[in-house]
């Protein structure tokens, strides 16, 4: 973006203001500019300062600085636990760290990506982006509509330059030569303008590769699109979780969720009341690979869905990496486990609880914790805590563990309690935790009555006539995440656009070609051409070669070809960087000299264009 840089440097009235901090990276380029800026200071005022600030903000250097700052600012988010992902870990961490934790929290280090400082960086970056893209788009629109720039006087100054001579007997006058070249270049995708077609030295200017800049603009604009889409998703989306035991049905209403996170603009009317029933969940585990026994290989949930309460039922398979789309949402399989089925009878012999109890995963091989609260038991409420092991095994020390994730030897080990569960006053409680402080133990390993150990189909009577518990069997459950994100599709579209723009911008080359012809006294038609690239272009030399080849073929100049290719190889095109100054002592001087000598009288400009040739040196 040399234009941008230049613009900045050349506008002293905006480049510096005494009040605002100077750009430290580059001190005022030259004393004259600084002096001018000083002289202009009284006129700067508020407007001037604002303009100065704007120029600074939209400069390439600021963009680069903000980009690097963004990279640095993103890092703490990987060093500290983040609230949106792990709220409980963050709470714990703040508690453990004491004052330090509070300081870290005040610095928003647990909410990096919604923090004021992170937001400030990316918002500034995107403002800078807009300030950068809009003027460039306007400038480029104008450039695309204007003609290729006028033919430079000295084509030999260009990074790629060459000459061709058409013999007099070929019958191709200067004007036709230019037209031929114009035709060829048009076919190559250049936009061409022929100048002075009837004059002594007709020439053409050609340009191609406007898509490069378009690609760059599309890329940057699409980044804004991605950001806006993501923000919109947060506003209008929602997400939630639900645990489904085999046989359970989820209905997409607020009460259907175990946990629900609405977006800022969420309305419950957005929920389409579809339903999904878990029919069966199948898990496959590795039985053979050494060192990996018990590693899961496949999870598969058979579900029956209905788009709306009276729509027909549909069978679908829900898998990890393979969500089910339903009613504008996607349903993901995010977890699974075991839910032992138990029947609990109270002291009066009535069934106080019957059904599945979701086990929470605690350790390897589905070692799960189980909590059962039985508020309906009479005369005393009952509570159970313990573990479920799909394949129980016992160590030498008598400690039970789960040996394999599948149901080879399912075992339920529990302790039981009675008393007031504290549920009646209406305070919400965690269903996965039982507070035993207020309860009296009935069964426990350290009591006379011992703990409860059950295999499927067995029962155990509780001491003191408090009732009994039966382990009826095991069902599996799945955890599903339900997401609705309206911004997602747009984010994808913009991301794809961005990539397309990026690739275009990086691999399309913007090039200009000029060709000038003239007729030598002896009737030969002299042709010279030059190429210029804008931005990085390592294939400019190849393009020059290709164009030369086309012209040679067009005019049947085989004899020159060998010389030509040799010639253009020996021309160091690397002088793109060094300017054209050294060009003339390159090997092409011989031919240039030939051309010059040949066209001396009638084609003064061609002559001039080979400045620094041997001919010229002699003159000096």
């Amino acid at each position: 973006m040399s234009e941008r840089v230049k613009e900045q440097k050349n506008s002293p009235e905006t480049a510096a203001s005494q009040k605002a901090p100077k750009d430290t990276a580059e001190p005022a380029a030259n004393p004259v500019a600084a002096a001018k800026a000083e002289a202009a200071l009284p006129a700067l005022g508020v407007k001037g300062t604002l303009r100065w600030a704007w120029t600074q903000l939209t400069s390439m250097r600021t963009a680069l600085f903000l980009l690097l700052l963004l990279a640095v600012a993103a890092v703490p988010g990987s060093l500290f636990p983040q609230r949106p992902a792990n709220p409980s870990i963050v709470t714990q961490r703040i508690k453990n760290d004491g004052d330090l934790g509070k300081v870290l929290d005040a610095l928003q280090l647990f909410d990096v990506y919604s923090s004021a400082w992170f937001s400030a960086i990316y918002i500034l970056l995107f403002i800078s982006l807009i300030g950068c893209v809009v003027p460039r788009a306007i400038a480029h629109y104008k450039a695309m509509r204007s003609q290729p720039p006028r033919t430079p006087k000295r084509l030999s100054r260009l990074p790629e330059y060459g000459t061709l001579v058409i013999p007099a007997d070929a019958g191709i006058p200067a004007s036709r030569a230019v037209d031929d070249a114009a035709g060829l270049l048009k076919k190559r995708g250049y936009r061409v303008e022929v100048r002075d077609d009837d004059g002594a030295q007709p020439s053409l200017g050609a340009e191609r590769g406007f898509l490069k800049e378009v690609g760059n603009l599309v890329f940057h604009t699409s980044l804004i699109g991605v950001l806006v889409s993501v923000a919109a998703g947060g506003l209008f989306g929602y997400s939630g979780q639900r645990i489904l035991v085999e046989g359970d049905t989820f209905v997409n209403t607020l009460v259907g969720y175990d946990q629900f996170t609405p977006g800022t603009n969420f309305q419950s009317s957005q929920l389409q009341p579809y339903s999904m029933r878990l029919d069966k969940f199948r898990a496959t585990f590795d039985l053979e690979s050494q060192g990996k026994i018990g590693q899961p290989i496949d999870f598969k949930a058979d579900v029956t869905t209905k788009e709306s309460p009276d729509a027909p039922e549909q069978q679908e398979v829900l898998k990890v990496n393979d969500p089910v789309s339903l009613g504008g949402t996607s349903v993901y399989l995010t977890g699974n486990g075991y839910a032992p089925l138990v029947t609990i009878r109270d002291g009066q012999g009535n069934v106080a609880f019957q059904g599945p109890v979701v086990g929470r995963l605690q350790g390897d091989n589905y070692y799960s914790s189980v909590v059962i609260k039985v508020p309906d038991a009479k005369p005393d409420q009952l509570g159970f805590v313990g573990f479920f092991l799909p394949t129980e095994a016992v160590t030498q020390d008598g400690i039970s563990f789960s040996e394999y994730p599948d149901l080879l030897n399912p075992t339920l080990t529990l302790s039981s309690f009675f008393g007031d569960l504290g549920l009646d006053n209406g305070d919400p409680q965690n269903v996965f935790e039982l507070d035993v402080k207020e309860l009296k133990p009935l069964n426990a390993r350290n009591l006379d009555a011992g703990g409860i150990t059950l295999k499927p189909g067995t029962s155990q009577t509780l001491p003191d006539g408090k009732g009994s518990i039966t382990f009826d069997g095991v069902k599996r459950y799945i955890g599903v995440d339900i997401h609705h994100n309206p911004g997602q599709l747009y984010a994808l579209i913009f991301a794809l656009l961005a990539v397309a723009g990026l690739v275009t911008s990086l691999y399309v080359n913007r090039r200009r070609v000029w060709v000038r012809t003239g007729t030598h006294e002896d009737g030969r038609t002299m042709v010279e051409y030059g190429l210029l690239a804008r931005g990085e272009d390592h294939r400019l030399a190849g393009e020059a070669q290709a164009i030369r080849q086309l012209l040679v073929e067009e005019w049947g100049l085989e004899s020159q070809d060998a010389k030509a290719s040799q010639d253009s190889q020996s021309v160091p095109s690397g002088q793109a960087d060094n300017g054209g100054a050294k060009r003339a002592d390159g090997a092409e001087a011989t031919e240039a000299a030939e051309a010059t000598a040949a066209t001396k009288a009638p084609a003064a400009d061609v002559n001039q264009s080979t400045a620094g040739s041997t001919e010229h040196k002699k003159d000096q």
């Binding site: 580059e26 390439m60 690097l68 949106p84 990074p159 060192g291 290989i297 993901y332």
Partner: protein, 373 residues
Amino acid sequence: MLPINETMGFYSELFMLLAGCTYTVAFIAFAWDLAKSSKALRAVDLKAAAAAEALEAASSPAAAKIPVTAGSVREASTDRTDSDVSGPVGRAERPSSAVSAAGAGSGLGQTADAGMHYGAERRVPARVAVALTVLGASIHAVGVLTRGFGAGRVPWGNMYEFLTTGAFVAIAVFLVVLIRRDLRFLGTFVVGLVIIMLVAAGTAYMTPVGHLVPALQSYWLIIHVSIAVLSSALFTLTFAMSALQLVQAHRQKTIASGGADKLGFMRLVPSALSLENLSYRINAIAFVGWTFTLMFGAIWAEKAWGRFWGWDTKEVWTFVIWVVYAGYLHARATRGWTGTRAAWLSIVGYLCVVFNFTIVNQFFNGLHSYSGL
């Protein structure tokens, strides 16, 4: 799900070991090449300098020392034209290009072809080294393939496989680029790195063949990870070039200001500007690859976890890398940031890549922590 073939897995490990041994010999050959060539070049220099001195002494006693070197080096070099990797137009004021313009213009302590085309002189050790690298890569390829067949899936599902397959891709990319460009000066570096990767895989991350956990069972694994590995391999090359660029720029400056050339072997390395230009081109490709890595990762995350972006540690670092390299591309178009500073950005970007792969995979827990450890 194809069954696991443990015999195949065993053979794979054997091939990896063999490949590692072959690379080690190749490494030695590359190092030998550097040492030998720099000695040979110095000898040529000395001879030419002596001749030139005699000549210069006769014609102009005031002749400076530098042009003498220039003359001599010009003879030693075969083709120093910048023809293929010229810098961007209108950036002649760039510091690095100023240095290299001086360097290329007068041939200051410079021998390697800036276009990185093969020269005419035969470098026997280098040829041996490349041949050995090709041999090593072939064995390595068999190792990767047998691993894939043994596991019945693509061989990039855990750290061991990322490393072994990644190392293979790095070598393959290097060899492919070698067809067109004489990057043999990078040989010690690339082969050395690949050996480190193989050793790390074989010791710290050894994992027998096995099935993938369900979270990884997706065609996105094939797409996302392969592009990530390929981009990382390209970043590896540019990292090496940027590091050399810094050294070379320093050396060019020292020589230009009349200092002694202490790093003779750097004669085999092209000018700082040529290195910068080629690494820019490779970085541009790798950046597009990394953009795809990021996007496909997001799409996969959406499929697997229900959200396309959640600032998981791995996602954070992938993003950081992307932004750093975006910064690099910007730097190349920002006055005062080309040359050395851009090279530093390229190096920082690569350090982030390495960090993302090693530390983040191992010590940070996040959703990606299933990398098979």
